[in-house]
Each structure stands twice: as C-alpha cells, then as structure tokens.
C-alpha cells in the first residue's frame, strides 16, 4: 500500500513523500514501519496504540483521524493537524492550545457538597471521555481566522465542569467563556463530526450559551445586529 506523507524538517522545507508500507492494520503501524525500516528521521507521536492517549491524531485526506484507530487505504494523503505550529513531520506544538483549557475555566473551581447519582453521572459522562487528541480543534473553521478562539475541546470541557453538581462557582465558568468563546462558534458541527470519542462540542457550546443567557449575558453579535442604534439617515 502506498501512502503520501507530508514532510517538514522543522525549518521550511515542506513536501509530500510517497512510502510503500505493505499490508498494515492501522496507520500507526505504517508510521512505525516507515520509521523502523525506511526513514529513521520520520517523526510522529504515539504512546498507547489503543485510542486513549490522544497523541497520534493526524489528518487523512483532510479529515482528522487517530493513526492508531485508522485503517489506511491506498494513496491516503497524511498531514499533521491544522492550526498548530508544525514542529517536525506529524509533530505539532500542543502547549498553546492546551492552555486554553484553563482560560475557558475548564476545572472544578470550588467544591460544593453533593451526592451525585447515576443521572448526575450521565450529565458529564460523554464530555469527560475526551482524550485531548485535538481532532476537533484542527477541524474548526473559526480557528482558521481567529487563533484566539477557545475552540471546541476547551469549551466542551468547560461545560463538563459547569454541569457538574459539585461545582460551586458555575458563574465563573460562564464568565470565562464569553470572550473568544461560545458566541464566536458558527455551530457548523465540524468538531462533532470528527471526534473519535463521540463527544458533541457543538451541543455543549449551545448548552453553555443557554447557561450564559440564564446568567444575564447576551449574544454580542445579535446585539450589534439588532440593537445597535437604528440608522434613519436614508
């Protein structure tokens, strides 16, 4: 099987290189074959090989996939994630996007005593399945134009804590997602479509919008569109 792989040496040279990888069960296996038998300089990340560490996400023909859970097809074109600084081949800088978790208020601020039951468990079960692979981030069109956007995984996780009955400072989370946050999302659903864990960041963003409205915030776009000073000059 032939794969077309984007190469980047950390400076400027970007090119596509073809590799013959034979029969493999997963794309990650192909990556190891390349590194072990063809080109020791080929660079990628992987730890768990079972879809749980989130290290190996790349783009296959423009769609985000976990290399360890993707069965490659003839002539697949493999590229690193979007909207990250590419460091070498498939390796991208993750630290800046990860920092958005704290910015979005995605942590338990103040523990409040609560006795959760199975219904409570289900409220945040899916969101907390996130493996931080950043597939959603790479698929989000808003990040193509606005690098400061908090992005899908951070917002989904902010919702996960806001919806937790143990969180005693929900309003702080809601306040954290106002700027470059819930109102900047176009609700296109690309994030939801690519998540390998079946998480729905778009849905969580909608839920955060509802919480925001309930807390007295309003959609700034809506405000500039409808409530700006009427123009009677014509």
């Amino acid at each position: 099987m032939k794969l077309e792989i984007m190469r980047f040496d950390g400076k400027r040279v970007e090119r596509y290189e073809e590799f013959e990888v034979g029969r493999v069960a997963t794309l990650l296996e192909a990556f190891y074959r390349i590194k072990e038998f063809e080109d020791p300089t080929f660079t990628f990340e992987a730890e768990c090989r079972s879809g749980i560490c989130g290290a190996c996400a790349v783009r296959v023909n423009g769609k985000e996939r976990l290399a360890c859970s993707h069965t490659p097809m003839e002539n697949d074109r493999i590229e690193p994630l979007e909207y990250h600084e590419v460091q070498r081949d498939m390796l991208v800088r993750r630290e800046d996007s990860f920092e958005k978790l704290t910015k979005a208020g995605a942590y338990l601020h103040r523990y409040e005593r609560s006795v959760p039951d199975t219904k409570e468990e289900r409220k945040t079960e899916i969101q907390s399945d996130c493996i931080l692979c950043e597939s959603c981030y790479s698929a989000c069109p808003v990040l193509a134009i606005d690098g400061s956007f908090l992005g899908p995984f951070a917002l989904s996780r902010a919702y996960r804590y806001a919806a937790d009955s143990r969180e005693g400072a929900k309003e702080e989370i809601v306040a954290s997602v106002q700027n470059s946050g819930v109102w900047d999302c176009t609700l296109c659903g690309e994030c939801t479509a690519v998540c390998p864990q079946g998480i729905d960041p778009k849905g969580d963003i909608l839920a955060l919008r509802t919480l925001s409205l309930q807390s007295g915030y309003s959609d700034p776009n809506f405000a500039t569109l409808s409530f700006s000073t009427p123009d009677f000059s014509f």
């Binding site: 040496d9 950390g10 069960a25 997963t26 590194k35 072990e36 038998f37 020791p40 300089t41 660079t43 990628f44 990340e45 992987a46 730890e47 768990c48 090989r49 079972s50 879809g51 749980i52 560490c53 989130g54 290290a55 859970s69 069965t71 460091q87 070498r88 390796l91 993750r94 630290e95 990860f98 920092e99 978790l101 704290t102 995605a106 942590y107 338990l108 601020h109 523990y111 005593r113 609560s114 006795v115 959760p116 039951d117 199975t118 409570e120 468990e121 945040t124 079960e125 907390s128 399945d129 996130c130 493996i131 931080l132 996780r157 996960r160 804590y161 937790d164 143990r166 969180e167």
Partner: protein, 535 residues
C-alpha cells in the same frame, strides 16, 4: 532558578504529588517527556481500590487481600498505610472533580461512588469511572494542576540525576526534545514518578511505548538501588500480535480459554499468574490459545466491553461476538523498581524520592492486586511530596560532572565516529528474547542465555551513533536513549531473576518450582563499575 521540588513524570503519581506540593505553597516544577495526558495512567480501565463503607467489606480485608497476593514480600506497615488512607484519598479525588461512576440512593458523596470487584479482592472495592478510570483521574488532576498554576514543562527527557559522590541529589539533567539542548534543573528535593518498565518486553507488553525504564537506569548510575526487578506481572489475555489488553471482565463474566482443539484447559478465574502460566505452556509448545466469549451474546458484550470489541476488530480483524479471539500473556506491571524506604526515600541517595509504578514501595511484593496501583500513585505520591518538602536536606557538592559527561556522550552519539546500528531491530529482538527466556517460565539456562545476548546488545549500543543527527525533535535519539535504559534495566531484571532460585508469585523458575523460606526477602541491585550486581 532553584525549585523546592522537582517532579520527574506527570502521570497519576506526578500530578498527585504536584497538586499536594502546590497546596502546601511549595515552588514546584513537574517535567515529562511527552504531555501529562499521554501518560500510561490513562490506559487504566478497571478501577482504584478503597473500602468506602464497612458493610460487607473492611479495611482489614483490603490489607489481608493485598498481603496475600504479595507472597510474603510486602511490608505490612506500608500496606496498612495504603489501605487506611485509601478512603480519604478517594475523597480528595472526589473533591477535585473526578467524575466517578455512581449508584443511586446514597447518603454521602463517598457512598455514591460505584464499585466493582476485581480479581483477588474479597469484596467489590474498586471505584471506577466507566471503563475510563485512569483517563478521568489524570485529566481531572491535569485540569486542576494547570488551574493552580503548577509549572509543567513538557518534552524534556530526563537523562540523569545531578548528584555528588555521597549520593546527594540536586535535581536532574534533561535533554530538551524541542531544541536538542541539555538543561540542568536544580531543586532541593526530587521525586521520581516515571512509571513502570514493562516496555523492556517490547512487542510483548500491554504498556505504552514510553514505559522504558529511563529513570531506573538513571538511579543505578547515580548510585541508588533497585529491588525485586524480577517481579513482573504478566496479564494473561492480551491480543496476540499487538499485545493490546483484553480486560479480566471478559473472563469474569464467563468467557472461556480454549486451545486449538477447542478444549478448555484451565480455571479461567484463577489468579493472573496461574492463568498466564497455563496459557504460556500451550504457546511454548507451539500451540495457540483463544478467548471464547461468543456465548455471552452481542448485547452483553457491547455493553460490557465496547472499547475492546473495537480494538479486536481493528487490530486482529476479528469480531469477538462471532469469532474466537487469539490471546497471549503480556508483560503488564512491574512490582519491583526503585528501592525506597517507608518515607519513600530512594535507597543509596539523599534528597531523592520515588513514587508510583517506578518505585518499589513494598506494597505489591511478588504480585499486585488489580486496582492497587492507581491507589498507590495517589496515596504514596502525595506522601512523597509531603516528606520531600518537610525533610531536612543535605547540601549537594557536585562539580558539574553529570552535565559534563552527558554533553560528551551526546556529542559522540550525534557524531559520525561509530557504527550506526538498527536500534529498532535491537528493540524487537530484546523484547522477544526477554519474553521467551525471561518471561513467564524461567530457568537458569534461559536466563543466562538472555543475559549474554542483552549484554552484547548493551555493549554494541554503547559504541553506536544515531542515524538521525538533527538537534530538534529528534525522536530517533529518544528511542535510542530509551533502548539504552531498557537494556540496563533488563540486565538488572535478569541478574535478579537468576539470583532468586525459587518460585514466588509472578516469578516462576521451572528449575526451582517451589517457594523457599530463605528467599522470603527482596533482591537488591546496584551498579558496580558499570556492571549490575545483585544481593
């Protein structure tokens, strides 16, 4: 910049220690070679042990079960601390926001946490978060640590400890994967939380790629001790070929193990080491073993083990609902490791502590109980942080020797004066040799043969140069360094396995197939003029 505390490793253990230290107002730095959420802890599915209510279970039974599994090698006092502190540490996790699975109708937060029964436990006492216990613990701790402003530095690969002739430690030396530069980080105390070393069995392990014993070899080189390195737990059912874990619940729910003739040959519910040996006996004679869970039915399987059904389909092209799953035992957990005392101080060194799977804190002895290691990485890592911050420190009088040596070595490896050797072939070969001759069945002949081959590889690698010369993001170089450490740890494991002329727990010597009273003690390893010696 001098830190109060340097933590090497950012899995469950590193994160727990960092949060504890931060809550005590210390200046702490946590370092890892990847990112915290890539640590192996995220792979743990089963659960974390704690007795949360005394109806039908008790802390005493938890202690008893743990001691029984350990084959006489655990330290009762340490085990007592672990089990007694378990409930308050689950509460600590609960208050940080870990989204545990729940039961209905509970009266208190702790009682609401769902628990399941794991192998060797006399009651259901493993708290879980669906099939994602490790993942959800690590991510919650990571969210918390980041929000508290714990300084986390990623993609720094620890090479060695900064120390003087007396073994007084003053931090560690790192290779910055991003720039290729060497970085000294100095701290009053250091906690090593670098995880287990089962990846020395490359290709035959359920572990993540990074469980490569880097710090075990660094400890030896600094003059510290390792202990019970021969005690490796093999999980009976990993997927043949890819060694991906198929959890115990498959057998717990009534799955069968059958041979090529379709016949059952062992009690599927016996302890891990017994089942592993029964399976390996078949494989050793050229046979194959299968897990048969077809009779459990699609609905039950989809509910019980959705992740594993997916992994079987993907990696083996097999649908367990309709087909037999080929399995093999695989190296899963290292009970032994960095030798430390009850304060978690590393033996032979000062200002240096160890916590988590890398350490031998004398909790698991010759066999670990499922659910006890996630417990250890929380309870003992927090304890290590407290001890490290509160203890008196010695002054390190190092002369910059560590940096000097590492620089010269790195220049040599990235230079061209030497043979390029196929480190990946060596890694595969080492994994196979260890699995075949130092795995589930061991005897003097096989162990000596393995020792000869591993030593020869170590010798070859010590002369070799890297096939990738670039400074930045040189993951080949990292693989090279990891192989080097793995081979040293493999030697430590082999000399220990040779020394222990008996069978106990996970360590089975077919030439000494019985327990011997005089071996109811630990093996201890250290480095002596470049050679690993055991006592």
């Amino acid at each position: 910049m001098n830190y109060d505390l340097l933590i090497i490793g950012a899995g469950g253990a590193g994160l727990s220690a960092a949060i504890e230290a931060m809550q005590r107002g210390a200046k702490v730095l946590m370092v890892c070679k990847t990112l915290p959420t890539r640590s192996q802890t995220v792979m743990a599915q089963g659960g974390i042990n704690a007795v949360l209510h005394e109806s039908g279970d008790s802390v005493e039974s938890h202690i008893e079960d743990t001691l029984k599994a350990s084959g006489g090698l655990a330290d009762e006092e340490s085990v007592r601390v672990l089990c007694k502190e378990a409930p308050s540490n689950i509460e600590w996790l609960e208050r940080l926001g870990v989204p545990f699975s729940r039961i209905d109708g509970a009266k208190t937060p702790l009682e609401s946490i769902a628990q399941r029964r794991l192998g060797g436990a006399s009651a259901p006492r493993a708290c879980y978060a669906q099939d994602y216990t490790g993942l959800k613990i690590v991510h919650t701790l990571y969210d918390k640590a980041s929000s508290m402003g714990v300084e986390i530095r990623t993609r720094l690969f620890a090479l060695s400890l900064i120390h003087d002739e007396e073994g007084v430690c003053a931090g560690a030396l790192f290779l910055d994967i991003e720039s290729g530069e060497l970085k000294e980080i100095r701290a009053s105390a250091t906690i090593v939380a670098s995880g287990g070393f089962s990846s020395i069995y490359h290709g035959y392990t359920t572990n993540a790629y990074g469980s490569s014993a880097d710090m075990h070899s660094a400890i030896l080189e600094a003059g510290g001790y390792l202990s019970n390195m021969e005690m490796i737990q093999f999980h009976p059912t990993a997927l043949e070929g890819s060694a991906i874990l198929i959890s115990e619940s498959a057998r717990g729910e009534g799955g069968y193990l059958i041979d090529e003739r379709g016949e059952r040959f062992t009690n599927e519910l016996a302890p891990r080491d017994e089942v592993s040996r029964a399976i390996f006996s078949k494989i050793e004679r050229g046979g194959r073993v299968f897990l048969d869970i077809r009779h459990l039915g699609r609905e039950k399987l989809e509910h019980l083990m959705p992740q594993e059904l997916h992994l079987c389909r993907l990696h083996a092209g097999i649908d367990p609902v309709e087909e037999l799953v080929p399995v093999s035992p695989a190296a899963h957990y290292s009970m032994g490791g960095i030798e430390c005392d009850r304060q978690l101080r590393v033996s032979g060194l000062y200002n240096c502590y160890a916590a988590g799977e890398c350490a031998n804190a004398h909790l698991h002895g010759a066999n670990r109980l499922g659910g006890n290691s996630l417990l250890e990485i929380v309870v003992f890592a927090r304890m290590a942080a407290v001890n490290a911050l509160e203890s008196d420190k010695r002054v390190c009088r190092d002369t910059g020797e560590t940096l000097h040596k590492a620089k010269a070595e790195l220049e040599r490896i990235l230079g061209s004066e030497g043979e390029e050797c196929d480190i990946y072939a060596m890694r595969r070969e080492a994994g196979r040799i260890l699995f075949e001759d130092a795995g589930i069945h061991r005897d003097a002949k096989g162990l000596e043969k393995a020792m000869e081959k591993i030593s020869a590889m170590r010798e070859r690698l010590s002369q070799a140069v890297s096939s990738d010369k670039s400074a930045r993001f040189n993951t080949y170089l990292i693989d090279f360094m990891q192989l080097r450490s793995s081979l040293m740890a493999a030697e430590a494991m082999l000399v220990s396995a040779l020394a222990r002329e008996e069978s106990r727990g996970a360590h089975y010597r077919s030439d000494f197939p019985y327990e011997r009273q005089e071996w109811c003690r630990d093996t201890l390893c250290r480095l002596c003029e470049g050679e690993v010696v055991v006592s």
